[in-house]
């Protein structure tokens, strides 16, 4: 394979099969829905990259290459506000998940353009740093791995609350070297106080320029769960059918048993790390979208024409949207002072936080 950083051998991976025996096939409508969202996510990322290159944004980072995992994750999430629904502690490659939840891609363009209308941060944060309280999407923040330290908190609330809401946390492979990943395993697996958490690592075998090999003594990152009695699984995250089934299986376990599950998904990093590393399409990485599209065409669930139309439609829509967004107002200098302190508490949804004012 070729990547931006030549001469770096990549780890050879053998991906485990999803172990739930019966590989029941997914409904065609679901497959097409996943394909649609994956394409939409890809087009969105490509639009964001283009905007950045054209000077309509300062920095790009995102998830092209993770759609085959991130889209099913979003589809399977129980969306809503408060501990009865799922909490999402996402990292910065989660556009597919957000679109699957129903996010308007134009909002992502707004964040790229740093407009005042950016609903995720009001022009304060980088692209792909989502925040949607009404869907329990906790603010994505740049520091690697801190989400793994915070996630046990929402899961603690859910353990107490009961029901089927779970906490989902995602992050990259390199970041698991931070102590916060261990914190997450430890806090989720305390005997008698296990937490309903789906702990996810999307392993693209790189941290910026640093290959997986040479940094890890673990054969699989997922193996780290074993000492804690945490169920684990490593899957091919470039196959949306595998992903869907594996996520579903893991979620079913977590929702029901109220115990943690550690899921490692092998994924690609199709445009490199970020705009800082050029953000060009990397030949030789598995492209889950292409592979899936080919598969659907081979299975006659999709035609090449229909697929191209879809691509063209989203491309056109987002190009138009990016032009509109260009005219939206930037925040004013004095907006820096907005929202330093909250005037009243809004977290927890209608059911939570009754005692406090």
């Amino acid at each position: 394979m070729r990547s931006r950083y030549n001469g770096v051998p990549r780890m050879t991976t053998i991906i485990s099969k999803v172990r739930n025996g019966a590989e029941e096939s997914l409904k065609p409508e679901l497959l097409l829905q996943m394909h649609d969202l994956m394409r939409k996510a890809r087009v969105l990322e490509e639009r964001l990259i283009r905007m950045q290159k054209q000077g309509d944004g300062y920095f790009w980072i995102g998830g092209p290459g993770e759609e085959a995992f991130s889209v099913p994750l979003g589809l399977l999430t129980h969306k809503g506000e408060g501990p009865q629904y799922d909490y999402l502690h996402l990292h910065y490659r989660a556009s597919g998940t957000m679109l699957a939840l129903g996010a308007d891609p134009v909002d992502a363009l707004r964040q790229m353009k740093s407009t005042a209308s950016d609903p995720y941060s009001g022009g304060r944060n980088f692209a792909s740093h989502y925040s949607v309280r009404k869907w329990n999407v906790v603010p994505v923040s740049s520091p690697i791995e801190v989400q793994y330290a915070m996630a046990p908190g929402t899961a603690l609330a859910q353990r107490r609350h009961g029901g089927t809401g779970i906490t989902i946390v995602t992050g990259g492979d390199a970041g698991t070297a931070e102590g916060d990943f261990a914190t997450c395993l430890i806090w989720s697996a305390r005997k008698g106080s296990e937490l309903p958490m789906l702990i996810i690592v999307t392993n693209n075998q790189y941290g910026i320029s640093t290959p997986y090999d040479g940094q890890h003594g673990e054969k699989r990152i997922a193996d780290r769960g074993a000492a804690f009695g945490i169920r684990t699984l490593t899957i091919d995250g470039n196959d949306p059918e595998t992903s869907y089934r594996a996520i579903k299986q893991a979620m079913d376990y977590v929702r029901k048993e109220r115990k943690p599950f550690l899921l490692e998904a092998m994924v690609s990093r199709l445009y490199g790390h970020s705009s800082s590393s050029g953000a060009n399409y990397i030949e030789g990485e598995a492209d889950g979208l292409k592979l899936f599209e080919d598969k659907l065409i081979a299975r006659k669930l999709l035609t090449k024409e229909r697929a191209d139309e879809l691509n063209a439609k989203y491309t056109e829509e987002l190009l138009e949207a990016s032009k509109r967004v260009r005219d939206e107002a930037p925040p004013a200098p004095e907006d820096i002072w907005k929202h330093v302190f909250a005037e009243q508490s809004v977290v927890g949804g209608s059911s939570g936080n009754k005692g406090a004012r």
């Binding site: 941060s121 906790v138 923040s141 929402t154 609330a157 859910q158 302190f341 909250a342 977290v347």
Partner: protein, 354 residues
């Protein structure tokens, strides 16, 4: 008279019962110990966390985001220096999401020297705390304030850091103005009600006195002593040292006005500036190390806004810029402001001829 740990315990109890506190947690916070200073004994929602300060702060953030009301403890502030990124994140949650989320959590932690705690039980956290934008920061100097500030911290929709001066934790209220309202007047009676017995505690249950919702506003200082000659601005355990200094100086005819800040952020600039406008002299006292010290901020603001009001150079008294406070008595005394240092500084200010 009530001690500060008892006051904290009662505030947490009221927090649990009437203000939605769901989790009081940290290292050794739950049964059987109830906190290394007994500050969390007998509380319904108290539990022992893993020995992991990053996990503690992280979990508090998550609990807050999920609509719970956590009060997390860092056993000593000396062990919070690996969590500053997480504290910053909590403070940024509302702002960085442009008002979408808020993060109503309380972190409490004992601070400061004065108990021969050696290098790692003597740190101050004042400078660090005041640099945490998005946080409110309080530090009581007596049991009543501890009670009222902690309750205000609990109901606040923002992250609040409650720093307890560890040298005052076991001290009793000096008088009624420092007493928690509603407690039995006999302190042995109170102790029987809410202090866990030695030995087997498995069957012990506290009986809580009926204490009211005393909410001491965050951001308001307390005038500890009115005076006309020199303003002294401090907080925490140095309120008591400065009060002593004021009493000594009164015999020399120097009339000190003593302000107990109570809140380090937001802080009560009105109280400070009107006092300085009256006395024209000011000494800021704290025990944190003295390069890039919070008192230096207050002094800078004094210069910015009150330069021509001053009849003497404003002064900061702080701890020495050292890696820590040494254990030997001489070392501790040499490291943090002592009564004499304070008396001298005030005297110098009072006698200074403009």
């Amino acid at each position: 008279m009530t001690t500060m740990v008892q006051a904290i315990r009662m505030a947490l109890h009221v927090g649990e019962e009437r203000h939605g506190v769901t989790d009081i947690f940290g290292e050794d916070v739950g049964a059987p110990l109830g906190g290394v200073f007994t500050q969390t004994q007998g509380l319904r929602t108290a539990w022992n966390s893993p020995l992991d300060e990053r996990g503690i702060v992280g979990a508090a953030i998550g609990l807050a985001l999920a609509g719970s009301r956590p009060v997390a403890e860092i056993q000593f502030c000396d062990y919070a220096f690996n969590t500053i990124d997480l504290l910053k994140l909590a403070g940024a949650m509302h702002w960085s999401s442009n008002g979408d989320w808020n993060c109503p959590m309380v972190v409490m932690t004992p601070v400061g020297a004065g108990i021969h705690g050696s290098i790692y039980h003597s740190h101050s956290f004042d400078a660090q705390a005041t640099r945490l934008a998005g946080w409110k920061i309080v530090m009581p100097s007596n049991p009543r304030d501890a009670y009222g500030l902690l309750l205000s911290a609990i109901i606040d929709p923002n992250p609040v850091l409650f720093m307890a001066p560890k040298a005052l934790l076991r001290q009793k209220a000096n008088n009624d103005s420092e007493e928690v309202p509603g407690v039995p007047s006999d302190e042995r009676e109170l102790s029987k009600m809410i202090d866990a017995p030695l030995g087997d505690r498995t069957k012990w249950k506290p009986r809580w006195p009926d204490t009211p919702d005393l909410l001491i506003p965050i951001g308001k200082a307390r005038m500890d002593r009115a005076g006309n000659d020199v303003t002294v601005v401090t907080y925490g355990r140095h309120v008591h040292v400065c009060r002593k200094a004021a009493e000594e100086l009164a015999t020399e005819g120097i009339d000190v006005e003593l302000i107990d800040m109570r809140s380090l952020h937001p802080y009560d600039w009105d109280a400070i500036s009107s006092s300085i406008k009256k006395t024209h002299r000011v000494v800021f006292v704290n025990e944190d190390t003295d390069i890039t010290n919070f008192g230096e901020h207050l002094l800078r603001r004094t210069i910015d806004e009150l330069f021509y009001e001053l009849h003497a150079p404003p002064k900061v008294l702080a701890g020495k810029h050292l890696p820590g406070v040494g254990l030997a008595d001489n070392l501790e005394k040499g490291s943090v402001p002592q009564l004499d240092d304070i008396t001298n500084a005030i005297r110098t200010s009072a006698r200074h001829e403009p």
